[in-house]
């Protein structure tokens, strides 16, 4: 069973498909690290992150736009990490920052849904890798004319704006992130790398409708419902 072919997201630019591998840069928005304050120097962390901090959103989490995300019966709410994600166009291995954007096929919106995280010490797979916890879309936008380091990301719940952020505040801007990530792991055509979400993450409850708007890329919507026990 290949990893891919899971999410039929329209992709009209090469490679015309997603591979199914989705990575997310965590703590890459200044607001996310700022929220932790001096805690980054205390146990268990002891120091701010040096290399990019990444998570894997496995194939069971992937969902297209306009889907239903189910919140488990024993949880009140979920966190929504609203990300711009890039799609890799061809194998990217230790790409120099100056040429990193040549490897980007396009952009989309990635909703990194998670049960509320109490700590960033462990990967939290039970919280972050639940079925349907990574809606993507609405389509892969052609990268020409898009400056992924100057995009507005707005999050709405039931129509009310709950977060407004900008990718100018990424700690590692797109090209730098790609250079640093591909220093130790090759990204392949169709892989997605989410660039980092602002914090605090908006929290959604069952019954609410989420909308993430990124002018130039599109609008990603989904609905939260209570999972049957």
């Amino acid at each position: 069973m290949p990893a891919g072919a899971v999410v039929p997201i329209p992709c009209d630019v090469p490679p015309y498909r997603l591979s199914g591998a989705v990575y997310g840069a965590l703590l890459n928005h200044r607001s996310a690290l700022a929220l932790l304050g001096q805690a980054v120097h205390a146990p268990p962390y002891r120091a701010p992150p040096q290399a990019p901090v990444l998570c894997v959103k496995p194939r069971n989490t992937l969902a297209g736009p306009d889907t239903v995300v189910r919140i488990p019966a024993d949880a009140e709410e979920v966190e929504v990490g609203a990300n711009v994600g890039l799609v890799i166009g061809r194998a990217a291995c230790r790409v120099p920052e100056s040429r990193a954007l040549d490897f980007v096929a396009g952009y989309l919106i990635v909703a990194d849904v998670s049960l509320p995280l109490a700590s960033h010490f462990r990967p939290g797979v039970r919280l972050k890798a639940r079925d349907g916890f990574c809606p993507l879309g609405p389509a892969v936008a052609d990268p020409h004319g898009i400056d992924s380091d100057a995009l507005t990301v707005e999050v709405f719940l039931d129509g009310a704006r709950v977060q407004s952020a900008t990718t100018t505040d990424l700690i590692r801007p797109t090209a730098r992130l790609l250079a640093d990530v591909t220093e130790f792991m090759t990204l392949s055509a169709g892989d997605v790398l989410a660039l980092g979400a602002a914090a605090p993450a908006p929290r959604a409850r069952p019954g609410q409708i989420l909308r993430i708007e990124v002018p130039g890329i599109g609008v990603l919507s989904c609905r939260f419902e209570r999972e049957a026990a």
Binding site: M1, P2, A3, S19, A21, Y23, L26, L27, P44, Y45, R46, A47, P49, Q50, A51, P52, V53, L54, C55, V56, P58, R59, N60, T61, P72, A91, C93, R94, V95, P96, R99, H120, F121, R122, P123, G124, V125, R126, A129, R130, D131, F184, M185, T186, L187, S188, D191
Partner: protein
């Protein structure tokens, strides 16, 4: 049945272990030794070549029988989600001076980290401590969602050997173990075979051994897993649907040690065969003093 995926003569093939009765000649591959005395509980028609002299053969789906060194070994199945366990043997947790935990320590890996039997893995020059981890890999065969431990093994297609390398120098206390430690290119070695679950009567009592350059360095038994296979499947499937091709790397016992370029790491698990991996220097990958760009300028 022992199943593999190999590249040979211009194509990728499904393949199975070929019996010596098929008549192909054995040849020494120079990497063996006396250590490969395996207890093969798989039995059946596919007799294990237990003499450690190499010379295994595979039969391709099109009927050809090919020597093991005439193929490129790929991960033995189409790999889906790679789920790995940390600190899942009591002795290894002690070795790292960590308390065992109430909930399994799970982390995920991406497809770029995968490598087959006899592959070469880069050993970064700037790291002081890169170590192997011999692990039993459990491969899912039927979708699993909220499966009770009593029925968990019904969802297993089979088992294989995994060597899940780590570069400890890069550990940071953020989402630990972070991907820079555990998701490096070529650092998740799977194979040579996927052995059908029916041929592994008790996956909870398999001996694991690692040899570095022929010297035994790591030894354990899956009976010492903190969270056994049925419990892991129950736990994981309680929050994520497991699909065919998903693989659970169940953790490694004590005995991890540093490896260097040129070292040959052999991992064995009772009944699953013997997996060989070699460590390569940065230079082989165009890194280091004479840096070669990955993709030359257009």
């Amino acid at each position: 049945m022992k199943r593999a995926r190999v590249a040979h003569a211009g194509a990728v093939h499904d393949a199975v272990a070929a019996s010596p009765a098929c008549g192909a000649a054995r040849e020494a591959d120079g990497t063996g030794g006396e250590h490969a005395q395996l207890a093969d509980e798989g039995g059946g028609e596919h007799v294990r070549l237990a003499d450690g002299a190499g010379g295994e053969h595979v039969q391709l789906a099109d009927g050809r029988i090919v020597s093991e060194d005439a193929v490129v070994w790929l991960p033995p199945f189409e790999v889906g989600t790679v789920i790995a366990l940390g600190l899942n043997y009591r002795d290894h947790a002690r070795e790292l001076q960590l308390d065992s935990q109430e909930e399994p320590l799970v982390f995920l890996k991406g497809p770029g980290s995968l490598l087959g039997h006899r592959g070469r893995t880069r050993r970064p020059a700037d790291a002081a401590f890169m170590h192997y981890e011999c692990e039993l890999a459990v491969v899912i065969g039927r979708p699993a969602r909220r499966v009770a431990r009593e029925r968990a093994l019904e969802h297993v297609a089979g088992y294989c050997i995994a060597n899940d390398y780590a570069v400890r120098d890069y550990l940071e206390n953020w989402y630990r173990p972070n991907l820079r430690v555990k998701n490096r290119d070529g650092c998740t070695v799977l194979g040579p075979w996927l052995v059908d679950a029916a041929d592994v009567p008790d996956p909870g009592a398999l001996g694991l051994r690692t040899f570095v350059n022929g010297k035994l360095t790591q030894q354990g038994n899956t009976r010492d897993l903190i969270f056994g296979i049925p419990v892991l499947i129950e736990y994981l499937s309680s929050f994520m649907t497991l699909s065919p091709g998903d693989v659970i790397l169940t953790g490694t016992p004590e005995g991890v040690g540093n490896v260097m370029p040129g070292d040959v790491v052999t991992c064995e698990i009772d009944g699953l065969g013997r997996q060989i991996n070699s460590l390569a220097a940065d230079a082989e990958f165009g890194r280091g003093k004479h840096e070669v760009p990955c993709e030359s300028s257009i």
